[in-house]
Amino acid sequence: MSRHRFFGIPFLIAALTSLMLVVAVACGSSSESETTQDSSGEASATSVPVATSAPAASVPASVTRQEKLTIAITDMGNETPTVWQEYAFGKAYMRFLYDAFTGTNDAGEVDKTTGAAIDWSMSADAMDWTFTLRDDIKFHNGDPLTAEDVKFSIALTSSEDSVASYAGTVRAAIADPDQITVVSPTELQIHASKPSGFLNWFISDIQGVEGLIQPKNYTESVGNDEFAKSPIGSGPYKFVDQRKGDFMEMEAMDDHWRNGGSKFKTVLWRIIPEESTRIAALKAGEVDVISVSRERAPQLREDGLNIFSKEGASVMGLYFHEQWRDDSIWKDINVREAFNLAINREEICEFVFAGQCTPAKVYPWPDIAPGTDKSLTPLPFDPVRAKELLDASDYNGEELAIRSYPRADVPEGPRFIEAVAAYLTDIGVNVKIIPTEYASYRKERLAHTLDNGSGYLAAPNRPLAGFVGLMRVLNHSTGTFTSTHDPEIDRLIEALEAGVSPADVEAASIALYQYMYSQFSHLTCCNMNISYATNDRIESWDLGKRVWDDGFSNLVQP
């Protein structure tokens, strides 16, 4: 009897566990069979029938539309698909949903064939701009895209509540939406607040989401909250479903003016913060494209996966936040120089970034960027001098709090921060690492509450016009993300913005670059490659030269 009881309970547990396992495996395999595809991307015989292999009627006959493309990345910005509630990190998916006012191409130039504006002109004083729009763009609900929608979107983007990364740049050029005059449904005039030779760039999709167009009528009819849950754009894909922090699903429009019939019927964006999990998902065939660290890219190439990279695509640096505060350790230039001399850039490049980067000179310009002084050299590793400078400075052992967080483009971020913290500790800096998420750090940056705090960012390369817009945001006293209040920097940025001819702008950019180099305004580290790994379904991929979007839309181009 006792023997019975002894064996009975474990047996029951084992039987129940086995049953649950069988059910779980059965469920898992059945759901997988619905999405299984063969190597060509066509749905296999066991997957959802008929609709998958037959292209939609309006898709050109030459295009073989595949069922689904799954992209796994670390984060997707705010995951709030409106033009004023999303920032630059969400731009990759936003360009699938929306069209830009001024279009751009993969070479990183404004392009009259890829945006709503097909023509524009500027007055001699760069104060007045006239734009002509295409008349054949329709939103996903069938409404036509007009000049009213453009004015409405610029007003949203440049509003005080906007979280768009370069909203400040737009605001500086168009202080009041009333400066925008709708002449007709296809014509728009903008009177700038100051000479703006690059206005068309500021409202393009070259940098953040500022140039994207959201429908006025639909937004006003459903309200902002409802719109954010079920957005309507005019891009090549329409919004289907979303679970924040997990996925966003989009479905291709049948015949989009910009993309034609997109190659994939569905695009699924998945957020997988852990790199190992992303790699496992790619190898298991669950996803097709993943962002991958520089360290893992060579190994994955050896494993037979495709690696696509942008070389020297961004520059990694740490901010010296709120330098203007009286109690800021950064106020003293000796401290800033000491920090810059304390880190061994060569070693970081070699061992943290697997040799796939090079020491850089001045953040936020990668060495390949336009408008830079090529004669300058990266600051050397000189811990002895750094310690001397620190000893001679006003630094008295105050705690430096460095925020550490993983990011899609820098999975090595936390390791990089630990390495930097170790170098700084070696020269006598009292460093504290605060693990957090980028979104939290960004809020602190916006609120300017990072006294004696630091955090890293990889600033992507951009065209000259991009730097014109960026520098106010990052370093002008009025910039939303500024870490400096230096009258000389302000003057140089204003001179940069006032430039109309490319030669003037380049000269102003070089002057600013040289000044920031001499002032050690940031802790500049290295120029980095950006890499993605894909399976065999992606044979070629031009990552382009846009900022914050590595050509994801090229993956779906027919």
């Binding site: 852990e274 790199e275 190992s276 660290s293 893992r296 060579p298 190994q299 061994n344 070693e347 970081i348 070699e350 061992f351 943290v352 697997a354 040799g355 550490s404 999975p411 936390p414 390791r415 630990e418 390495a419 913290a421 170790a422 170098y423 500790t425 504290k432 690492i433 605060i434 693990p435």
Partner: protein, 344 residues
């Protein structure tokens, strides 16, 4: 008849050694778990003396060195071209291959060392920043023992006080205190701790506070049950009749009688606290880097599970051994201190 007279003055007290009793008590002691605990505690206390490396010193060129017993990792490669290094102006960085036979010809299949083997100067290898893993595990033990000690002292102490109060007074006080305990126990533990640490910010003190705030309820529940049973006993009634204050009855009569239960509970909870601390550190809500913490070390190594297994294995094994040792010792203590268990 003469009565036997005993000269009491001549009787000398027999000196009975206590050692046999102590040995008897430890006769069935779990030797291996106790040894692990002793090593764990000594390592934590004497970390500065028993380590040869700096737990915080980053040495990037020495990153991901495998454990001492792991030899060179080699792969077979085909020579595709030969270059005259002396004539080459460009610096070559060979991060993957460290030894190539210079006599090889194009087309040869050669064995290339892609990772050097380990050495006994770093017995358990190094982490992604070149820090000695054994040293960090030893210092991590110190972090674990500080957190476990502090959390158990605070949480256990407060919980015991609440349990004794509830059991002694009963009635509404008991009901109110136990409802608070129920609410605490009902909340998902890790989520609660993460929320707390996220609000307060990650630090050792905040981890201790977070764990203590969750821990007290377990003690309160168990001790209250014990106290309720003891309240029916005659010695409590006698203490009351003799005019002892409530506080004196709780501290002098109830507390000593719940002590065996408390000790067992404390021992069993050490492992639990270590697991919670490791979980919080793994999730990024625990001890912030670069302080060595076992959970944090696991987290740092998770990206390297397939390429540098030792980064996660070493702290994982440390957590497993220590938690298992405390659990086994807790079970043994329970048997020793609980008369009911002994009679079975």
């Amino acid at each position: 008849m003469m009565a036997n007279v005993i000269d009491t003055a001549a009787i000398q007290p027999v000196k009975v050694s206590r050692l046999p009793k102590i040995f008897a008590a430890f006769k069935a002691a779990p030797v291996i778990p106790l040894t692990i605990i002793v090593v764990f505690v000594l390592a934590a206390l004497l970390a500065d003396l028993v380590t040869f490396h700096d737990a915080y010193q980053v040495k990037l060129p020495e990153r991901l060195v495998p454990p001492a017993w792991v030899g060179d990792t080699t792969v077979m490669k085909t020579v595709s071209e030969t270059v005259a290094i002396d004539e080459l102006e460009k610096k070559i960085t060979l991060t993957k291959a460290s030894a190539i036979d210079s006599s090889s010809q194009v087309g040869d299949r050669i064995e290339v060392v892609v990772r050097q083997g380990g050495s006994w100067s770093r017995p358990l290898g190094t982490d992604p920043l070149g820090r000695d893993i054994l040293t960090r595990i030893i210092y991590g033990a110190r972090v674990s023992i500080i957190i476990a000690g502090a959390a158990l002292a605070i949480g256990g102490g407060f919980g015991t006080l609440v349990g004794l109060t509830a059991g002694y007074y009963g009635g509404k006080i008991d009901t109110i205190l136990m409802r608070f305990a129920d609410i605490t126990l009902a909340f998902p533990l890790i989520l609660f701790a993460i929320l707390l640490v996220m609000v307060l910010g990650p630090s050792m003190m905040n981890v201790i506070i977070a764990i203590s705030l969750v821990l007290w309820a377990r003690y309160a529940r168990v001790i209250r049950g014990e106290a309720l049973g003891l309240m029916q006993r005659d010695f409590i009634a006698r203490a009351r009749v003799s005019g002892a204050s409530d506080w004196r009855i709780m501290m002098r009569h109830l507390l000593p009688n719940v002590m065996p239960t408390l000790i067992v509970l404390l021992t069993l909870q050490v492992g639990w606290v270590i697991i919670v601390e490791a979980s919080l550190s793994f999730l990024g809500a625990g001890i912030p880097p670069p302080t060595p913490a076992w959970g944090g070390m696991l987290s740092e190594g998770k990206e390297y599970v397939s390429t540098a297994w030792w980064v996660t294995t070493a702290p994982g094994v440390a957590i497993m051994l220590v938690v298992m040792a405390f659990n086994l010792c807790g079970d043994w203590l329970r048997e020793k201190l609980d008369p009911k268990q002994r009679s079975i």
